[in-house]
Symmetry: C3
Subunit: 356 residues, 3 copies
């Protein structure tokens, strides 16, 4: 049986959950409930889609026991179907697995340390003093700078770049185009000219971190830039020098954290967010898409900035008025005072005001 074909029984055992249906039913791929065909395992995570249960062609469905009644397919019962789907997804992964060993075209410094379980791809470069733990995978064209330390089973995909002295924990995934350890953006100004500050710190990344394509993480100016355990970063994120990102924080694409800011743990940062420098963001803060954080957020909670979207013709008028907002507020207050003077008890008179 290929790695991506399972009986219902084997799946239930592997996932440690209860099954309903023929034990020898063969499932060989995952598919969405609405478009699944025979042989597919599907899942129902959002009860809003329960109506799809009746018509699905999936051979089996992962779902909550309370919804089992409406399902004619075989079932895998889970208290958290989305989590079970996450676990099951890896069982159907047909992505090629890199062979262990060093590709003959790779350039590996003789002082680098690693064992036979490590895979180093074509045209990869491993510089002096690196230590790669067992099971590490280095993709083709990836460059690992001097004295980097990479933990067990961490995978760097193709064309990743690590500068010197970067430490990455175990079980991390680093996607292509990622750059870790580039210089932080530190300069002094001398009579209008920028004088570069050598960036002497490193980057320390915890265990179980996932870093999306073309994300950049700069090295610290003096101390290290630090990414906690279990952090997940999407593509095209920017982590500036000396930033600290707390454990299990998630950051969607195209977001950036400026220098020396400290973001708490279990935060959820949507796409396009910008966080200014030298701020502190508390644990469990949620930031909406494209929010601009210009001051510290000492309390957990959900924060947003920006305006609602409108048709451009309408938007132009409103955006122009934004420039008058302070003046409008003052004019409004002036009107209230004028009327108040005439009606000293207005505030007691309820929302409709009162006639004379």
């Amino acid at each position: 049986m290929s790695r991506a074909s399972w009986t219902l029984h084997a799946l239930a055992e592997q996932l440690g959950i209860e099954m309903r249906g023929p034990a020898d039913l063969v499932l060989d791929h995952l598919a969405p409930l609405g478009s699944a065909q025979a042989g597919a395992l599907s899942f129902l995570a959002n009860p809003r889609y329960r109506h799809q249960l009746e018509e699905t062609q999936a051979s089996a469905v992962i779902l909550h026991p309370s919804l089992a009644g409406g399902c004619s397919a075989a079932m895998l019962l889970s208290d958290n179907p989305y989590l079970t789907y996450a676990r099951a997804s890896h069982l159907f992964n047909r992505a090629p697995i890199p062979a262990s060993g060093v590709h003959q075209s790779a350039v590996v410094d003789e002082t680098a340390q690693f064992d036979d379980s490590v895979s180093i791809g074509a045209n990869a470069v491993i510089e002096a003093g690196c230590v790669l733990a067992s099971g590490v995978v280095i993709g083709p064209g990836t460059v690992v700078g001097a004295n980097c330390v990479i933990g067990e089973n961490t995978r760097l995909y193709a064309n990743v770049t690590l500068y010197h002295n970067v430490r990455i924990g175990a079980r991390c995934i680093v996607h292509s185009g990622v750059v870790i350890g580039s210089d932080g953006f530190g300069f002094a100004n001398e009579k209008g000219r920028w004088v570069k500050i050598a960036q002497l710190g490193g980057v320390v990344i915890g265990d179980d971190v996932d870093i999306g394509a073309c994300t950049t993480i700069d090295r610290g100016a003096i101390g290290d830039t630090r990414i906690g355990n279990g952090v997940i970063l999407d593509n095209l994120n920017m982590i500036a020098h000396n930033v600290v990102v707390g454990d299990h924080t998630a950051m969607a694409a195209c977001s950036g954290i400026s220098g020396s800011s400290k973001v708490g743990s279990h935060c959820i940062i949507a796409g396009g967010v910008g966080i200014a420098g030298h701020l502190e963001v508390a644990d469990r803060v949620q930031l909406s898409m494209c929010t601009v954080v210009s001051s510290s957020l000492p309390e957990s909670g959900s924060y947003s900035s920006g305006t609602a979207i409108s048709e451009t013709r309408e938007w132009r008028k409103n955006a122009a008025r934004f420039r008058q907002l302070d003046s409008m507020a003052r004019r409004l207050t002036a009107l209230e005072r004028m009327l108040d003077n005439r009606h000293p008890s207005r505030h007691d008179e309820g929302d409709t005001g009162a006639g004379e």
Copy 2:
């Protein structure tokens, strides 16, 4: 005659348009109307610049027949001068053309299929099972993952990364730093910890697609991420997993489309735009620079968000008032009601109100 030197006659023939002037006039480069020198072909696309016709030193000008009267240079007459310029630009392109064949330093799996017309650059890597159609160009340092399929005459520049199972159509251009097929940002949450969902889908890109430097396109979670025919993506764009981009849509730099969103065809998305996940954007939608799309846009049209720019000192006051906007609206309504109660017929009395 070198590829980048043409007589007026040869150009007119090649472009299929009418000429006015000496047939053997030699043109060897393109230049803007305002700064052109002898030997230059220029163009007038925007009638606003017609005054430049009188003084231009260009040897020939592409322009609309209706403007021919004001031009003392030789002419190529076109109903759409900008389009004719676009066509002519390729005739003056002196960019080096990569030699066909496989560079000796490239690492090409023996199962990859391609013919002699294909060019594979220095230190490129082509993994198992890839199929490259005729005329494909793979730049130096580019990595093509297992089982990718690339259509006729598509060019991947240097240091591009394709993961496994990416399909790209014919005549596409993929610029350096692009990553296609990296994992979508899919995780379930288990008691505060992120559990990765294997991204089992692929990426399917149509014909005639242009992808700018450092743009990332993630593979689908289950189904594929899909980019239609004739789509043009600028640099540093982010296309998340399972996004669908319709034919002939354009997307300027630094914009992102979040997971599972579906953008229509013939849309024009300016730079810095963010589109949230699981939305539908209709055909022929235009989005202004840095617009945030947080709900579906079922109608074509032009949309914007954000505020106008101001001097920071003014902006601070107005931005602070933004936080009072709902309160201001309520206070305004209260004032109106108060005055209305006293003047029941106010709304009939015109803009100036009325005395008592």
Copy 3:
């Protein structure tokens, strides 16, 4: 004495400033005032932290002479301590220095010109006609396209991509993932289809330019894209075709300048800023984080756009009201006129209005 260990006396000489303390005191690293240990050189740039002087464990501190009284450690006296720190930082830099010469795995065209002082790293590619001045360092995996010209002591880190005909000045630093010379985003539209315009210009970068990881700089459509001397660009910046950036301008991460815009010298552009195309931004303009510049800024000064951040619950109400802003302004004016008609002299009566 290793390159990163200095006596106080040697440091003072090297930096050309006055010292106070034992001449033979050995300093072997830099550390922040608050966390420094013995052997550390620290600095006090912001007088707000002067209280840390009393308790610091640093062996020596760079500080302004006026603050020398409060410091018990050895001292290096400077009128501009931050600038002195910038200079001193390079003296403690332990980053590995690439060996000069061509790595055997590099692919260097025989027509490329350079001397023995140049370093070309593993798996780098140098195409035909390139000219590399003395002291140039080309990192591993970096691709330099045909006919590029690179000035003295400029360093391209690993996995950089230069297209053909890119000119870079002396003493520049180009970080990993950077792409310079990719096609500008130029297309004509023919009945809904995009027709590519060949990008025939180049890129010209001045001296002392610093370019952050994964920044992209497109080549010009006809003329060149130009980056002035002393410009500093952070990570993930986007410089579109035919942009001109003036000398000594700084641009923080995730910002973009659209096609043909001209930004002055000595500007400071914060992170996430978007500048539309065909604009002119004056010298010495400062732009706040995530500002959207949609029209030219002919005067120097500080500019901003966007709204303040709020809790999402509050923000939703205010953002919805933004759509009514023009209507609110009109209603406010209507109320003022109504009251004005009754009180013609209101504006003379002061803020409180007047009773009847």
